[in-house]
């Protein structure tokens, strides 16, 4: 059958065969990628879901354990720290990078000279890995060699900036570094949004005598409101998946004070041999992403439908 498909059109261009082959090729070409993606998305997720209700410990095993892994996960103090950290970090990280990003975007939008240079400077951290950023900032936070040493050397001898060695403050070190890395990203998106605002709208506001500040607050920012949401959703995704930055910056310490869900999963699966509970934690991460992304995607689809309905 398949040999016929291949040989006949070459030997004699019999049209029906050729047409049938023509409709099949796209599907055949797509099939391997589809199969791989299907396995990756659905089979792997189901697999981990199953591991999370299995009796797996050091090795995967497939005895059914019900919700035991979830019970022990939620009873674990370290998991408690992990998701508390996630909420705390997400809030400040998102607000911080959006505030800085918006400020930078508005500043650049004031017809400044050398726009490309400013943009390049604010955006380059995004090209570099969290590993590099985290490593370098861990040095800057090091009280003996970094920022604290610099300021003390300048004469302010009681200056304290030992964030990463204080279990109550280490999370702020991660927030600051995260904001430093990602506010350029927010800036780029906000800038693209500012540039897409109808110039007539801005002109009309200026003719009415509105100040620059007022024009932004009343006219420009409300029209780019969807971008705020998009930036926030993308940043929440980053936050939930945060692993590299913490691994390079504090390694979850001091103690377990900067444990994040992703760190917890890695630790349980590959350091402590508690695969079942690690899988349960991974499923919780997936659930957190779904809680954010599903309503957002539905909203985007709804909005697109409505717009195309009007247009």
């Amino acid at each position: 059958m398949s040999t016929h498909d291949l040989t006949i059109p070459i030997a004699a261009p019999a049209r029906p065969w050729r047409e049938r082959l023509g409709t099949l090729i796209p599907i055949l070409v797509l099939a391997p990628s589809l199969a791989a993606s299907f396995v990756y998305v659905f089979v792997f997720a189901a697999w981990t879901l199953y591991l999370s209700v299995s009796t797996s410990s050091l090795l995967p095993s497939y005895g059914f354990a019900g919700l035991d892994n979830y019970m022990s996960l939620w009873a674990n103090r370290r998991w408690n720290i992990a998701y508390t950290n996630l909420f705390f970090f997400s809030g400040f990280y998102i607000l911080g990078s959006m505030a800085v990003g918006l400020l930078l975007a508005i500043l650049i939008d004031q017809r400044v000279r050398g726009e490309a240079v400013w943009r390049t400077i604010f955006l380059y951290p995004l090209a570099v890995s969290f590993i590099v950023t985290g490593t370098v900032w861990s040095w800057l936070y090091n009280p003996a060699d970094g920022i604290q040493a610099l300021v003390r050397g300048l004469g302010w001898s009681s200056f304290n900036f030992a964030l990463t060695s204080d279990r109550n403050l280490a999370i702020y070190a991660i927030i600051i570094t995260g904001v430093w890395q990602s506010s350029g990203f927010a800036m780029a998106l906000f800038l693209a949004g500012l540039r897409s605002v109808d110039p007539d709208l801005i002109k009309a506001a200026q003719i009415d005598g509105a100040s620059t500040f007022r024009t932004y607050r009343r006219v420009i920012l409300p029209t780019i409101a969807p971008i705020f949401l998009a930036v926030a959703v993308i940043q929440i995704q980053f936050a939930i998946k945060t692993f590299d930055l913490v691994a390079a910056l504090t390694r979850g310490g001091p103690g377990v004070s900067t444990t994040f869900p992703a760190i917890y999963v890695y630790d349980l699966m590959f350091q402590r041999g508690q695969i079942g509970e690690g899988a349960a934690a991974a499923v919780m991460m997936l659930a957190a992403l779904a809680v954010v992304l599903v309503p957002y995607s539905l909203w985007v689809v709804w909005r697109r439908r409505r717009e195309s309905g009007h247009g």
Partner: protein
Amino acid sequence: MADTAIALPFDAEAAAASRRHFWSRFAIYGLLALFAVIYLVPLLVVVLNSFREQEEIARNGLISLPQSFRLNAWSDAWGTYCIAGTCEGMKRNFLNSLWMTIPATILSTLLGAINGYVLSKWRFRGSEVLFTCMLLGVFMPGQIALMPWAFVLGKLGLTNSTYGLILVHVIQGISFTTLFCRNYYVGIPDDLIKAARIDGAGFWRIFRKIILPLSPPILIVTVIWQFTGIWNEYLFGVVFTSGQQQPITAALVALTASGTTARSYDVMSAAVLIGALPPLLIYLFGGKYFVRGLTQGAIK
């Protein structure tokens, strides 16, 4: 006489306006410069420290003007520095990353281009649903796939190998590259394809003669994005490989963690820069496309 009478109040107003203008410009550039310093200082510190002597860094701290200049740290970091017992520097890991990133980038981009072509120009019943399912891969956290991947790579005999990481990155990347290319190809007019089909051109001919010549912008964006993402990836690298097989991100963490003795900031700075250089260069030379990928990726 009448002229000056009119001009005087006008002038004062203009002067006030230009003074206001000056101060607002001053504030804008001042703030931009302040933030630029905050963004550039960490980079500057690492670059300078990679050329300073370790004794000087230990004496004056990480953030201070250099008083010495030498290149030893770079050659040490590249070839002789010891990480966890082996003294071969970052060279092996850099090459691992390169041999992982280049094939994975090319493969995932090619597959993405072809998939995007099918999903935009050869739609069939259910293709939109399949596309949506593929998209889910973009959002999957790597942690969900860790144990399954470990099992699959073990079965295939690809544990602790660059080939295993290539496989992981290609399959993980397909959804992303397909999304990019599909959204770009949707903008190519269908009439172009229809006309070619009437002329008797088939699936591959249309791809080669019409789609590919129009593709460079999106292919550059995709390649830049994939290269940067795969080069910078850490989780899969640290989980599926160890020691000599690790990509550079994992090796950097191992390097800086192993500093139980005196920290040699000079060598570590050079090592960090070696790890950061490829994506930084790509960013500097392809910045326009980098930003384009960013804004496109966000509209997904």
